[in-house]
């Protein structure tokens, strides 16, 4: 595949349906074709971007977050609404984690599992004090 793929060819090469590609373009996650009209063509950069989008989706990113993550000057902030409350979790004497308040239950579950795992990793054995940096 070269730099002059049609939408159908890009769809086949990326295994991403043409309608989804058009949707990504409309959402500003993917650039439009390099040329307009009947000569509309897509290049390797489109293919690479689609692979990156898929990878980020597999990691749990929403399209809004992907747009923010991929765009060096995101048009929207990754967190779409102002944050007015945070939960503060002291998971070790020397580690504090902050989590945004009023998340959806599903996201809360995901975050809680990650914190539990993280807390396990950074747990200080009983009777020991966290080591401080030598001055």
């Amino acid at each position: 595949m070269g730099d002059h793929m049609t939408l159908t060819e890009l769809s086949e090469a990326s295994a991403c349906p043409a309608r989804t590609i058009r949707f990504y373009i409309a959402r500003g996650i993917l650039d439009g074709p390099n040329k307009a009209g009947r000569d509309a063509a897509y290049g390797q950069e489109h293919l690479a971007r689609l692979e990156r989008i898929k990878g980020l989706q597999d990691e749990g990113y929403t399209l809004a977050a992907i747009r923010g993550a991929l765009d060096p000057a995101p048009l929207i902030a990754p967190v779409a609404t102002p944050v007015s409350a945070w939960w503060q979790h002291e998971i070790a004497p020397d580690v504090m984690v902050w989590v945004r308040g009023e998340m959806s239950p599903w996201r809360t579950k995901q975050v809680r599992a990650a914190i539990e795992e993280f807390a396990g990793r950074v747990r200080v054995p009983e009777g020991e004090q966290p080591k401080e940096r030598k001055k």
């Binding site: 779409a80 979790h89 308040g101």
Partner: protein
Amino acid sequence: MTSFGPVAAATAAPIRLAMQRLWLTGSVLAAGARLVVQHVFRSDEDHPVEVIYAFMLPRDAALRAFRITGEGFEAHSELRPTEEAVKAYEKGIAEGSLSTLARQYGDGVVNLTVGNLRPRETVTVYLEILAGVELRDDGFRFRFPFTLAPAYHQRMRAAVVDGEGEWELPADEFGDVMLPRFRKDASELHEVGFDLSMVHTLPLEEVGSSSHAVKVKYDGTEPARVALAPAKDVPNRDLVLDVKFKQSRAQVLAGPVEDGKRDFAVVAPSTVFGRNPEEARRVVILLDRSGSMAGEPILQAKKAIEASLAALSDEDSFGLMAFDDSAEAMHAALVPATREQRELARAFLKQTNARGGTELAKAAAEAAKMLAGSGDIIVLTDGQVAGTEKILQLARSSGVRISCLGIGSASQDRFLALLARETGGVGRFVTAAERVDLAAVDLFASIGSPVASGLSAGANVQPAAPHAVFAGVPVLLFGEDAGEGIGLNWTGGSVHFDVPEGDAATGEAVRLLRGARMITDWESRYPSEEALAPLEKRQQSRVAGRLLELSKQYRLASREMSLVAVIKRTGDRGGELPEVRVVPVGMPQGTPFHAYFHGPASVVACSAFEAQAPLMSRRRVGAARPEIRNGASMPDTPAYMRMMVTKQPAPGADGNDDLVELAAMLEADGGMPGNTPGIRAARSAAAVFAFVQAGHTLTAGAFRLHLIRLAGYLRSLTAGSAEEKRMIETALAAASSGSAPVGGWVALSGAAGTGWREIEAAMR
């Protein structure tokens, strides 16, 4: 320039809606509905657009065809294998032609896509849909989704974008399905409405809606017409219509098709088969405590469980489990339904709050283990889960009967109806504006011991008859008749129905309804990953093969066959890239936006990390009860047009709150509590009068099981004076006849000191 386009109420700025209108028309029969949904698309943009409207199929539904009209053209859809239809659609898009595709995905979600809509162009798509109804012995409930509910999935991604809820599902399991954005306020979205004919063979008692204000036209001869009373409504809840007949008896709908044969549908009420035998019950109740149940639904569901448990006796045993991401059981095994255990259940429910996801399959598997092969599971849930085919597969393999009480204003009706049917249970779906507790008590009274089992029908019936029949729930059979009629046999009984001549329109409708039902059944056996496999692999799938056959036989769409139309217009310009617009919908009424989507927080809190930290505590946000409830009684003769807009009674205003509390008081022996045998007997008689006065009897009404238990207790009493025995006889007669003396029976039965003297005074 004058514009008649929609404007924002707050700012008067024009609103650019890709879809302006969704209007439902068609006929609703006792066996299902034949609908035409009008979608009006208009582009106010300066470039071509591709509009995607996502909706959920109703229960037992399939798409038949669409017609698309615009300035100077009209075209009809073709039914083609999905790959071919998508290719034809994409070719049309590339050539600049107006292309339309109606494609079905997992969970019954459909994407209707209209591509290359030109600037300022208006096109209308009329989509024909066949759909089932929820049957009851004395009528049916018809439900149509005007929005869809966001649904939980382990790998779902949700976010708030531009103030709207955006919800995405993993492509490897759900393909390229496009889902709408959800708006908290649906008032500036497309308008919705309906105008339906109710075709019935039995005289109508009542037609009403718990979801919308309706106007009803009925002259006693022509089919009743039910339409939206206001000029338009908003897409934030399902349409729910209830039809009640004046009598409960079998109906056979039929009509000629071909080769001198007639297609038929039989709706046989459970009373045809007999009454519930009294057998000990083994039941596990599963309460969905996921975040989307927050607020009124979970409160009502808890009350319902308490009242339902009161209908159990000492010989019965039960289990109670609450589930979200994981299942939490009151006990590891079933326990006898004693007063102590019911108190424990009450305490268990008290500490149960809505939170987390909806891992229904996991909870059902746990419950099945508790039942060890015999008994029933009752699930109280909003059913808001994605990937339902997998859940159905697991539920079927558990071998346990699952009955469902669905709660919600947007439809998961298709999934819950399938879950109940595929496991041999009973399903009911109520809106959050209705009495969930009453519906649960009614469902509880239906299940347990079937009124008939071992049901079998003749070879001309397809799909096969259900194995068992439950009280209050009719049997629906479809088939083809060559003059032999319909024979039904069950353990200890049989019945025969003649098939009337009927008319061609009815024959065609029941044939299509049968096809839609069979396609739905097969689709529920089609796990998403298998449905998304490449064509060569899918061709070896038994389910894919059967769906293709059924689609071709009945000319109905399925996941294997889609509807497509490509219209070439003068001036089509190939290569232009239409801009995609997904039509947003309203967040289902009563579902908290924050249950699915992030939002601004209003509580500031700091706490150390705890396993059950208030991270999970949730409050209900903006869950409003619909303000209207409508209905129209059906007169026998004169033609009239009536519009009724009445307020939904506040909880308790209809007296049913008191009855639920009364029901929850029954002791394990079926009697009311009390310090002495005399007080217990007197309060039990008063409770009988209270239920009967509210319209319940030993065989009808949600509290029939409670009345059976009260009557059993009163019959078992041997002590007492002649006068007391006479009053007991009066109470027993009232339970059978449905006629009770007028009195303040709820208060009397609930009062701890009520004795025979008070009962006698009240009867006077």
